[in-house]
């Protein structure tokens, strides 16, 4: 806890370039576009990265080792998850990254089918 007498140290924690400049004012993505467990990796034949922002280059560097989830990528950067998603979406649209949908969770089986199976078993063995 810093005291009010030390505003200098306090401000030191804020980044020079704010997050809304890094996203260039883009609004947040819909939740279904990128989830926390969407997997991301670099594209095989990505264009030149010279003109990209340093933050985006860093993301590409992170993703180049293989598939990483959005949550992991956000953990490696100092940016909020929503901001990371915007950057990843930019990079994906520009062809630098490819995404893979997360492995779907097991679907709940329809109750009717279970009941039918149960009845069948009961009729057979019960």
């Amino acid at each position: 806890m810093t005291t009010p007498d030390e505003p200098d140290q306090e401000q030191a924690a804020t980044p020079l370039v704010p997050a809304y400049v890094i996203t260039n004012g883009r609004s947040l993505l819909d939740d279904d576009e990128f989830s926390l467990i969407t997997l991301v990796t670099t594209a095989q034949d990505s264009p030149s990265t010279q003109h990209l922002d340093p933050e985006k280059r860093r993301l590409l560097e992170l993703c180049s080792g293989g598939h990483l989830s959005v949550a992991e990528i956000a953990g490696h950067t100092q940016f909020p998850v929503g901001v990371v998603k915007i950057l990843l979406s930019d990079l994906t649209q520009a062809g630098y990254l490819i995404t893979r949908a997360p492995i779907p969770a097991a679907k709940l089986v329809d109750r009717n089918i279970l009941e039918e199976v149960l009845h069948g078993l009961q009729a057979r063995f019960g």
């Binding site: 370039v17 997050a19 947040l28 990505s46 560097e61 598939h67």
Partner: protein, 382 residues
């Protein structure tokens, strides 16, 4: 002869001559006296007039000083609050990064930055606090920081990145200068036009060029701007005019104090104003090498690296040096723990194998739990 002696006129004349002579001499004396008196009065008047002007000047200076002191301390408080608020907003952004509220937090962050900039500008006019000193930063980041301090920042496009960096003490002044220039540029051009920033190395240092597509300035405005931008002595708070024009005054003060030059006398290729900030070598430095990541050597994880979907050596994304000639940081090859979907190295287990593996795992954990009680290293004591 006697007839003359008896003439009273003669006697009158004899008596009158000395009287007249005396009168004339007296008159002359009087005139001389009056002349000196007049001279004295003249000097006295001039003295009075001079003192009056001096007194007025002194009173003006005192008033200006008093205004500056009051404003300075008021701004110091506001600046402190703004930076406190910025820290709080940054923390909130991290905390609620996954939620839609992040959008609002980003907007509030933006408003707070503009607020802080206004307070900072007034503080500069009062010779006040410029904000916390920042670490040396790349020119690109300083320009982006400036961009974030104005309202319509999405209209600003930065055309070139550079390898130049700005020394610690000049980061805030340069960012504030650019922010004021960008504020002018966005205010005096149509909302749909772009403000373009180029960074160009020159023999004396680096130029930051801000081009807008606005209406430009006439000769009178240009000469007034040039005067403000180059003046050694700031016109102060009372010399801002009505409506007050902060921008150039603030820039002029900063440029004089930190030793860079700003000119706005040329026309941009789009017909608007071209502002050029020339940063001398003294304010420039080279970027410190990126601090080493807490990374593992890639050779520790050969298996995972081999299973990555693309061999790092052939990746066009990663030249060994950056385009500016700096050494490229080593790729973090081993972060991913998820193998590629179509990777041939992933062994395909049959369901029986999978079941036996899982069974072995379960037996292992059970035996481990049983032995925990006996183990001296176990964390779980029950």
């Amino acid at each position: 002869m006697t007839q003359y002696l008896q003439d009273p006129a003669l006697w009158g004349l004899i008596a009158g001559t000395p009287v007249a002579a005396t009168a004339i001499i007296r008159g002359r004396k009087k005139i001389a006296e009056l002349r000196t008196e007049k001279e004295e009065l003249k000097t006295h008047y001039a003295n009075l007039e001079n003192h009056y002007a001096e007194a007025v000047e002194e009173a003006k200076d005192r008033a200006e000083e008093a205004t500056k002191t009051a404003l300075k301390s008021a701004m110091r408080t506001l600046q402190g609050l703004a930076s406190e608020q910025q820290l709080a907003i940054t923390k909130l952004q991290d905390k609620y990064g996954e939620l839609q509220i992040l959008q609002d937090l980003l907007d509030i962050d933006h408003m707070n930055s503009q607020f802080a900039r206004r307070a900072q500008s007034i503080a500069v006019l009062c010779d006040g606090w410029l904000g916390r000193q920042r670490a040396a930063a790349s020119l690109y980041d300083v320009v982006r920081s400036a961009k974030g301090r104005i309202r319509h920042f999405t209209r600003v496009e930065i055309r070139a990145q550079s390898n130049f960096a700005i020394v610690s003490r000049a980061v805030e002044p340069v960012a504030l200068t650019l922010a004021e220039l960008l504020d002018n540029a966005t205010s005096y051009s149509a909302p749909e036009t772009i403000i373009e920033i180029n960074i160009r190395p020159v023999p004396k240092g680096v130029c930051i060029i801000v081009d807008d597509a606005g209406v430009g300035m006439n000769e009178e405005e240009k000469s007034r701007a040039a005067k403000l931008l180059s003046s050694e002595r700031s016109p102060g708070v009372s010399g801002l005019g009505n409506p007050p024009q902060f921008g150039f005054t603030v820039i002029g003060v900063l440029a004089a104090r930190y030793g860079f030059t700003v000119s706005v006398d040329s026309t941009s290729p789009y017909g608007g104003v071209r502002a050029v900030v020339l940063l001398p070598e003294e304010l420039l430095t080279t970027m410190p090498a990126p601090e080493p990541e807490p990374q593992h050597e890639p050779k520790e994880f050969p298996a995972v690296a081999a299973s990555s979907p693309m061999p790092p050596a052939e990746n066009p994304v990663a030249p060994s040096t950056t385009f500016g000639g700096l050494p490229k940081r080593r790729r973090r090859g081993a972060i991913s723990i998820v193998p590629a979907a179509d990777s041939p190295d992933v062994p395909v287990r049959s369901s029986e194998q999978a079941a036996s593996v899982m069974g072995a795992f379960q037996r292992g954990t059970q035996s481990g739990r049983r032995s925990t009680n006996a183990s001296s290293e176990g964390h779980e004591t029950q």
